[in-house]
């Protein structure tokens, strides 16, 4: 059940793809958080993501945005995936994107759950002009990240892969 690797992608639905391929790190994540689906742990997850992003060379504004993107993704898992059940598991995995020996040029963030599976292409925010409460999280994630996509995990749950490069490509 516990995700150790991000495997090759079946059933992937990409957000507006960048043309330049991003070198996706594979193998076990050097930092990984396992948390229960409780809103009180969001701030801890945010602050960890922000600090690791900082160490990956992002400026404070970008670190804050990355923390926001992760918060939005976690909120969606808690609300839509687990229907606010407090005992669901969520994994946040972080990889600095770097060639060995060099300074990082980006970060890869993956969020996984054991919650309801939905078709990746159905996960989208409201039209921005259709102003009503809610319906913004996925849009925020897509705006902030260089690239992001949802996929079904092999047996249960969903996976959200987010990549952010310094040059935003």
């Amino acid at each position: 059940m516990e995700p150790r690797h991000v495997s090759s992608q079946a059933e992937r639905a990409s957000s507006p793809a960048s043309t330049v391929p991003i070198p996706e790190p594979t193998g076990p994540a050097p930092v990984r958080v396992e948390m229960l689906s409780q809103p009180r742990f969001l701030s801890g997850a945010r602050d960890l993501v922000s600090a690791v992003s900082k160490r990956c060379g992002f400026d404070d504004a970008a670190c804050g945005q990355m923390a926001l993107a992760v918060d939005e993704a976690l909120c969606n898992v808690i609300r839509h995936g687990y229907d606010r059940r407090p005992d669901g598991k969520i994994w946040i995995s972080l990889w600095p994107i770097e060639e060995s020996g060099k300074e990082p040029t980006g970060i890869k963030i993956v969020i996984e759950d054991e919650a309801r599976q939905v078709e990746p292409e159905k996960i989208k925010s409201r039209d921005l002009d259709d102003i009503r409460p809610g319906g913004l999280g996925v849009h925020i994630i897509q705006q902030i990240m260089s690239r992001s996509y949802f996929e079904k995990r092999e047996k249960v749950g969903m996976r959200l892969v987010m990549l952010k490069m310094h040059n935003n490509r």
Partner: protein, 110 residues
């Protein structure tokens, strides 16, 4: 959990939440705002100068407040947005939908 200071001066309310507004407390903020709007005040200023962080659950609460306020003729103004909070309003393209003032004084004058 969320500290919210509320001042009412002659039918104009200034509400100042203190701390991060995320999914763990956005419903609390919603409760405070709804109670404030029930009295149909002339204006409601939500002063965000003590909110270092807000996620879309907080924004949703403010969009809902705006819709209630419009219907009943209460003027809703946001003020004191810190950088990170301003950023989410911009990403959601809500910075032009809300009336946003720099601080409480400017909000009163706006």
């Amino acid at each position: 959990m969320l500290e919210v200071n509320t001042q009412n001066a002659g039918g104009s309310i200034v509400m100042t939440p203190v701390g991060d507004v995320d999914l763990s407390c956005s419903r609390e903020l919603q409760g405070h705002i709804k109670r404030a709007l029930e009295g149909k005040p002339k204006s409601l200023v939500v002063n965000l100068e003590k909110v270092p962080y807000m996620d879309s659950s907080g924004v949703a609460t403010l969009v809902e407040a705006m819709q209630i306020a419009r219907k009943q003729g209460t003027r809703l103004v946001l003020c004191g947005l810190q950088d990170k909070v301003r950023s989410i309003f911009e990403i959601a393209r809500l910075d032009r939908v809300f009336t946003i003032a720099s601080d409480v004084q400017a909000a009163a004058a706006s």
